[in-house]
Structures are given as structure tokens and as C-alpha cells.
């Protein structure tokens, strides 16, 4: 199923260290078009750092990131977003004092073509584009069940809605690849189920490729086709959900190292 050469997102051995601390070491990943993969690991394993590297918040010290053949290393986050890589944030970063609708509309801006002059002069192109943006934003809100909240301030939304709004906003940038950072965090089981369906739906609907960080193993195992596991910035396993569940290195990483055999057992 994996065809590395046709990958839409191809990450080759990226690393970064802060001070002396190696946060991510030789991380590689290959996402074929339309894939839905998971990235898991214990707390502090460096999952979000990987996302930050991919989206240009940090610049990798080694390695390559290719999005549909375009090299992303060293690009600023906004360029990367324009190239078609969108993300959500683990600690929600909505535009709190803007309305729900405006949150999504801001993200549409990256695909807008009319500029400053058109906005000030109110040209026909400006009105056309504004209408198109509004239309698209409303459609996204509808998909995520947020239409009735369109005029609320984002910070007044309940937690689950905020998570979904983050996804809707990321989708509004028109991405090829979507990075979701713990989209189900803080949700109850029913909400999680609904979210899983939603992710599957938008993936189909928009022809997306998705990489997902998630702590809820149930969710990850249920929807991801392949999973990469990292610990201390090092990739310790990759494979299908079933393979990962059976991998001893993964179990060790999650449960901690098995007790060292005591001295008595260490007999000659």
C-alpha cells in the first residue's frame, strides 16, 4: 500500500535539538495521498515538536521535508500553509475575540486573490471574493455542526466546539495535508465517536491526507491505517495498528521499562 515515491508528504530524517536536548532525532515519515496515519508516543515524546518542524515553527537542523515534491525546510509557517499543509493546535489557538465565522474566514484568506486596494476601493472582484469566502466558510461550519454558532465569539464556545472549529479553520486554508494535534482531547466518548466519523467524512469529501496525534488509543487504532510511535524523539516503531499493539518496544515505552531483574535472579 505504501509507495514512498508517490508520497504527498515525504519527511526524511529530520532532527532538532534545543540546547543539548535532542528533541527529535532522524524522524522520517511518508504519507501517500489520501492516507490517514497516526503519530503516537508518551507525554513529552516530541510529537508536537514534529508538527512544529513540519509547519515551520521550528526549522529542522537536518533532513528534508517535501510536500508534493516542494521542499519546505526553512520556509516560514505562512508559506507552508499556503503550500497546502494545515494544522490544529494541541492547546487550542482560536482567534478568541473574533466570531466563529470570522475564524474560518481568516483561514480562507490564504487562497484569496484580491488584495488591499480592492478591499479599500470595494471593487467587483472584492465583493465576489467576499461572497465566495462567506459561502465556503458557512459550508465548513455546516459540516462541523457549528452553523448556529456562526456569530458567537470563538472564546465563548464549549470546549468540544472549539476543537471542531480548529479543524474547520484548518480546512478553510484548502490544505492537501492536514495535521491534527490531539483533536479529541477533552471530549467524551460519544463526541469522540462523532469526531472519528467527521474526520473520515472530511477526508473523503476534500480528498485529504491526514496525520493525527492522539492519546486516545481506541480512536487511533480505529481510524488510522498506519501508526508511527516515537519516544524521546526517536522513532521506535511503525506499522499497522495491529502490529503496533503487539510491539514490545511500544509497550515498554508506554508502561516504562520492566523492573530490572533483581540480584537473586541474576545467579550464575
Amino acid at each position: 500500500m505504501t509507495q514512498p515515491n508517490a508520497a504527498i508528504l515525504d519527511v526524511q530524517a529530520i532532527s532538532i535539538s534545543f540546547g543539548g536536548l535532542k528533541a527529535v532525532t532522524d524522524f522520517s515519515l511518508s504519507l501517500p495521498p489520501g492516507a490517514l496515519q497516526g503519530l503516537i508516543g508518551p507525554n513529552g515524546a516530541g510529537k508536537t515538536t514534529v508538527f512544529n518542524l513540519l509547519t515551520g515553527v521550528y526549522t529542522p537542523q537536518t533532513g528534508e521535508i517535501l510536500l508534493a515534491g516542494e521542499r519546505l525546510n526553512g520556509q516560514k509557517p505562512n508559506r507552508i500553509a499556503a503550500s497546502g499543509l494545515a494544522r490544529t493546535f494541541q492547546n487550542i489557538r482560536l482567534f478568541g475575540d473574533l466570531t466563529v465565522l470570522d475564524n474560518v474566514r481568516v483561514a480562507c484568506h490564504v487562497r484569496a486573490e484580491t488584495g488591499f486596494a480592492a478591499a479599500i476601493l470595494r471593487t467587483r472582484a472584492h465583493y465576489g471574493e467576499e461572497a465566495a469566502i462567506r459561502e465556503r466558510a458557512h459550508r465548513l461550519l455546516e459540516i462541523f455542526g457549528l452553523s448556529h454558532r456562526a456569530t458567537d465569539l470563538a472564546r465563548n464556545l464549549p470546549y468540544g466546539d472549539q476543537r471542531r472549529l480548529e479543524i474547520a479553520r484548518a480546512l478553510a486554508t484548502g490544505p492537501k495535508v492536514l495535521l491534527l494535534d490531539e483533536p479529541a482531547a477533552g471530549m467524551n466518548p460519544q463526541e469522540k465517536m462523532a469526531l472519528a466519523d467527521l474526520i473520515a467524512f472530511v477526508r473523503r469529501e476534500f480528498g485529504l491526507t491526514i496525520l493525527l496525534i492522539e492519546h486516545d488509543m481506541g480512536l487511533v487504532m480505529r481510524i488510522c491505517e498506519r501508526i508511527t510511535v516515537i519516544d524521546h524523539g526517536v522513532t521506535i516503531a511503525r506499522g499497522t495498528p495491529a502490529e503496533i499493539q503487539a510491539d514490545p518496544a511500544v509497550i515498554e515505552a508506554y508502561l516504562g521499562a520492566p523492573d530490572p531483574p533483581d540480584a537473586s535472579a541474576e545467579g550464575p
Binding site: 508536537t48 512544529n52 515553527v57 493546535f89 492547546n91
Partner: protein
């Protein structure tokens, strides 16, 4: 050569004074991440209180007897005590209710307090609109001369007091329970309060310390420049405060040693600029240095760049 050394010494003396004021800015910033623009007015108040106390004690009579030796200490302690209270009151009444407000609001409040202190100080019931002559409470003579450079008692006192206070502060922040609490508060207020630290108290104490330092600086300032006790609303005070704030920023605001470094740097720069370039462009030197430092090292010389956690 003498000129060079003399300028060097003068620069360090003036710089130490700046550093003392800069410490106040840096401490408040370190803990609350806001620029207390009213600090220069506390400094002004400190200088004036020293004068008022001397006048009340009869030491400021023109042509009167030389004030007794202990007079300096009395004036210093009085102005430190008063400004400490003032700092406490300002924090309690004006800043504390704004703890969760945007920083810009706090800044506006600081500007309001600054305006208030200046204009209430101008009232004839308080300090009035006339400049005054500060009596010479410290003996102002040359202690010794090395290579034709005069080391005056006042200048040496300024440097010594600045060094001592800095040392005490360093000890306080890094070696005591209170200091640990302060650092915790500066790192994260909610977490600090969860750890059982009385955040309000720590912040109050920070303000009191900053204000007493400003008062001490105000006292030393009028000792060094007895003719420069200008009226409270004179632009001298604000400009001086601004310069010291710049010093704190150049050194890396929030950093105690940085404030000292920045203060001395600005003092040297001013003195050398005045002595060897053109003296009236001082403000330009100071602000140019600031802009260059910030562009090259956005967090200041000793400041640590903080990366926002994503």
C-alpha cells in the same frame, strides 16, 4: 589620558545611578511583565522627600551650619520608607485590580499614576513649582586622586551603594525563600499560587523593594547633583526614567545583572559621547544604542530569548 580615565570614572558613577533606577524597572518587569512607567516619578518623589526631610530638620537653611553626619542616613531612610509605602499603595490600589487585564491597560494606569504624582507634587501644599537646592548631606570632597583623576566621596558612595544593593538583591532573589517565591511568581502566577505561595504578598514586596531602590537612587541623585532638584513636573525626571528603562531593556529586562550592565553602559556611552563627540546628542546615542541592541539581540544583552510554547 587623564580625560579618558576621568570620563571612565564619571561614566561608571553616573551609570551606577542609572543602574539603581533600572533595577526597579527590571524587578517589576521580571515578575509582572509590564513596564512600570510611574517608576521615574517614585524616583522623583524619593529625591523630593529627602529634601523635605532635610528642610524640616533645618539642614537646608542657606548658609546654615553644616548638617550633622547622620543627616544623610536619616534623609535616605525617610525617603526609602516613604517611597516603599507609596509603592505598596500604588500596587495595592491601582495595579492589583488589573492583574488579569491586558498589559496595555496596566501601562495606561502607570501613565495615569505618573501624571498624578507629577501634578499633585506640583501643588503648593506639597513640593511646589520651584526647583530647590539640596543641602550637602554627604561630605562632597575629593577622597583621593589617582593619575589626576578625582575620586569624590559622593561618586564613590553612589557606586558602593549601587554595588551593595545589587549584591543584596542578587542574594535575595537567588538565596532566600522570598527570592524563590519571587522567581516562581515570575515564572507562572497560577502555578505559584497552587504551590502555596502568597502571590499578592510577593508582588507587594517586589513593588516595595523596587520603590525603595528608586528612593535610594533619588537620594543619591540629589547628593550628586544638589542643583538638579527640579520641580516635580519637569521633563528631567521622565527623561531620566526613560533612560534607565532603556538601560534595563538593553541589559535584558527582568535580569538583575542586566540592569546593572545596561545602566553602566548607558552612563559610559553618555559620558564618552559627551566628552569626545557632541554633548547635546546624548539622547540620540542612548536611543540608537537601544535600537541596535534590540535588533541584534531582541531580548537584550543578558536576557534570555523566550520562545513561546506552541
Amino acid at each position: 589620558m587623564t580625560k579618558l580615565l576621568q570620563t571612565l570614572f564619571d561614566g561608571v558613577a553616573v551609570g551606577s545611578l542609572y543602574a539603581l533606577i533600572a533595577l526597579g524597572y527590571t524587578m517589576v518587569y521580571g515578575i509582572l511583565q509590564f513596564s512600570n512607567f510611574a517608576h521615574s516619578d517614585i524616583f522623583m518623589t524619593g529625591a523630593w522627600i529627602a529634601y523635605v526631610v532635610s528642610a524640616a530638620a533645618g539642614w537646608a537653611v542657606i548658609g546654615g551650619d553644616t548638617p550633622p553626619l547622620y543627616s544623610g542616613l536619616v534623609a535616605l531612610l525617610a525617603s526609602m520608607a516613604f517611597c516603599g509605602l507609596l509603592g505598596f499603595g500604588i500596587e495595592r490600589l491601582a495595579y492589583r485590580p488589573l492583574r488579569k487585564a491586558p498589559r496595555l491597560n496596566v501601562l495606561i494606569t502607570a501613565i495615569g499614576i505618573s501624571l498624578f504624582l507629577e501634578n499633585i507634587g506640583q501643588r503648593k501644599e506639597l513640593f511646589g513649582t520651584q526647583p530647590q537646592k539640596m543641602p550637602q548631606l554627604l561630605p562632597d570632597t575629593t577622597l583621593f586622586t589617582v593619575a589626576d583623576v578625582n575620586f569624590r566621596i559622593v561618586d564613590l558612595t553612589v557606586i558602593a551603594v549601587a554595588l551593595v544593593l545589587m549584591g543584596v538583591l542578587q542574594w535575595l532573589v537567588f538565596r532566600t525563600r522570598l527570592g524563590r517565591a519571587m522567581r516562581a511568581v515570575s515564572y507562572n502566577i497560577p502555578v505559584a499560587s497552587l504551590m502555596g505561595i502568597n502571590v499578592d504578598r510577593v508582588i507587594s514586596i517586589t513593588f516595595v523593594i523596587g520603590s525603595t531602590l528608586a528612593a535610594a537612587a533619588g537620594f543619591l541623585y540629589v547628593m550628586k547633583y544638589p542643583g538638579a532638584l527640579k520641580q516635580p513636573a519637569d521633563s528631567t525626571w521622565i527623561l531620566l526614567g526613560l533612560k534607565c528603562f532603556v538601560a534595563a531593556v538593553i541589559g535584558g529586562i527582568g535580569n538583575v545583572r542586566g540592569a546593572m550592565l545596561g545602566g553602566v553602559l548607558i552612563g559610559l556611552m553618555e559620558m564618552f559621547g559627551a566628552a569626545y563627540l557632541s554633548p547635546h546628542m546624548r539622547d540620540i546615542y542612548v536611543f540608537s544604542l537601544l535600537i541596535i541592541v534590540l535588533l541584534v539581540r531582541p531580548a537584550g544583552l543578558l536576557g534570555k530569548a523566550t520562545v513561546e510554547k506552541v
